[in-house]
């Protein structure tokens, strides 16, 4: 089936089997291998990308369902010589060990700060009718869909907190 979407600002035309997930389209067909395949079942968050500005699990959606959509992957956030502030903060705070979950963690982190800014509540937000705060508890809860087997969680929270404070 023929389709197109925009990836990191560039229109990409593809002809794919209907079964192709967005993740496989990005990795196997467009060779954007920053997004990782961990569990392939939406449980680990390694495949997290932004579609229309919102983070989703690229493994649990079909490419054909994204005709015309705007997709941002880790490659679209920054590059080795021009790191996104969140990438720089992960490096500074050692927010990883093996690095496999890191692209998903970073895409998710960037989206989490946007979600807090947009006033979207979370499970740990005490008052549903107040604006959620930028606390470590809020960050941990909102990042619970991104698993790190190396257990770099406390450094990940430090990295996100630093970027949040820079933006504030």
């Amino acid at each position: 089936m023929k389709l197109f979407f925009t990836v990191n600002g560039e229109r990409r035309d593809l002809e794919l089997d209907t079964r192709t997930t967005l993740l496989d389209a990005l990795r196997e067909h467009l060779h954007l291998t920053g997004s990782k395949k961990g569990c392939d079942h939406g449980q680990c968050g390694a495949c997290t990308v932004m579609v229309g500005g919102r983070r989703i699990n690229a493994c649990l959606t079909l490419a054909v369902m994204h005709q015309g959509d705007e997709i941002t992957t880790i490659e679209g956030l920054g590059s080795p010589d021009k790191l996104h502030p969140m990438q720089a903060a992960f490096v500074k705070h050692d927010g990883y060990q093996c690095g496999y979950c890191t692209p998903g963690q970073i895409c998710s982190s960037v989206a989490v700060l946007e979600e807090i800014k947009a006033g979207i509540p979370s499970h740990v937000t005490a008052d549903l009718n107040a604006r959620p705060g930028l606390t470590a508890d809020e960050i941990r809860e909102r990042m619970s869909g991104n698993i790190c087997r190396c257990g770099a969680y406390s450094n990940i929270v430090d990295a996100i907190t630093e970027v949040a404070e820079q933006q504030a």
């Binding site: 979600e115 979370s122 869909g145």
Partner: protein, 316 residues
């Protein structure tokens, strides 16, 4: 995944008609549960009808003073809506207690209602399961049943409904609006939407073949304190062992629905007269017919204690 053909629906009625025309067709919206199950070949639709293009993503007031939630409103947007946060807090809380941020961004209102059980034997295609393969038997009855149902189950199935959202909708007396393949519409009270397993656990809802959910309607706000308490093995991103959705009024009366204990959100309206007398009396009535396994008998105690905490929070 097994091969399938794919089309994009152009209207709700047309989607329903298309599903009725094509045996083995399924609707796909968020896809977060369906694609998971397709990868495991637990679901093997021959045809997918993508309904994402239908403009069913609005929340609007009803003439009666309630709220009409479009079938495609994403879980994130429903939980964050100011009216839901203010007037139906138990629904926001239930949604935010479920899944992850990524999944809530994709999952829809109708899809959440239709998600399948997470019973480990339903997921293991090497094991008999009456829900996955009718007539093959239930592996869970004599198996690992810690997570499974304590009430309303049958000899054919002890699976639980995994949804948090549906538990809140049950406490709120929501109505599920649908369109059938012949174009007629109806409203199904949430109490009648999910079925008990009986001897047909593969039939999970009151929907007829091809029938398509267009919206979920909430009655005018009930007032009171809204609490959703979910007890699980992790602090976040896990299914409920037991959950309690409650709307408690100032005079101590209230509505209580339970998650994690049955094949559908568990509410016993007749038992709610006991709510002012406290958690012990209320839960004894709500779970009067409980028949737990030796592995999940703890859920009966846990449900009572969770309700105790909920009632204390509602009073405080």
């Amino acid at each position: 995944m097994k091969p399938f053909t794919y089309e994009r629906a152009t209207s709700p009625a047309e989607a329903a008609a298309a599903a009725a025309r094509r045996p083995g067709a399924k609707f796909i919206a968020g896809g977060t549960n369906l694609l998971d199950l397709m990868k495991l070949q637990i679901e093997t639709p021959a045809h997918l009808i993508d309904v994402n293009g239908l403009a069913l993503d609005k929340l609007e007031p009803t003439p009666e003073g309630g709220l009409r939630i479009g079938a495609l409103v994403r879980n994130t947007d429903l939980a964050a809506d100011q009216r839901v946060r203010r007037d139906y807090g138990v629904l926001s809380r239930a949604l935010l207690a479920g899944a992850s941020g990524q999944l809530r961004n994709k999952a829809t209102t109708a899809g959440n209602l239709l998600q399948r059980t997470r019973c480990p034997y339903f997921y293991d295609t090497n094991q008999p399961c009456n829900k996955r393969q009718p007539g093959s038997g239930c592996s869970a009855l004599g198996g690992f049943s810690r997570q499974l149902a304590v009430v309303g189950h049958s000899e054919a199935c002890i699976a639980t409904n995994p949804s948090d959202m549906a538990v809140a909708l049950r406490a709120l007396d929501a109505v599920v609006e649908t369109v059938k393949p012949d174009g007629t519409t109806r409203g199904i009270p949430i109490a009648e939407f999910h079925r008990l397993p009986g001897d047909t656990p593969h039939i999970e809802t009151a929907l007829e073949p091809g029938e398509f959910i267009t919206a979920v309607t909430l009655p005018p706000p009930a007032g009171g304190r809204h609490v959703y308490r979910k007890v699980r093995d992790r602090a976040s991103y896990a299914f409920a062992l037991v959950s309690v959705a409650a709307v408690v009024q100032r005079d101590g009366t209230g509505r209580v629905a339970l998650g994690g204990v049955a094949h559908r959100p568990w509410r016993v309206e007749a038992a709610e007269a006991e709510v002012p007398r406290g958690a012990r009396a209320a839960m004894a009535a709500i779970l009067a017919n409980a028949r737990p396994t030796h592995e999940n008998a703890f859920k009966v105690t846990l449900a009572e204690r969770a309700l105790h905490a909920v009632l204390a929070e509602a009073r405080g």
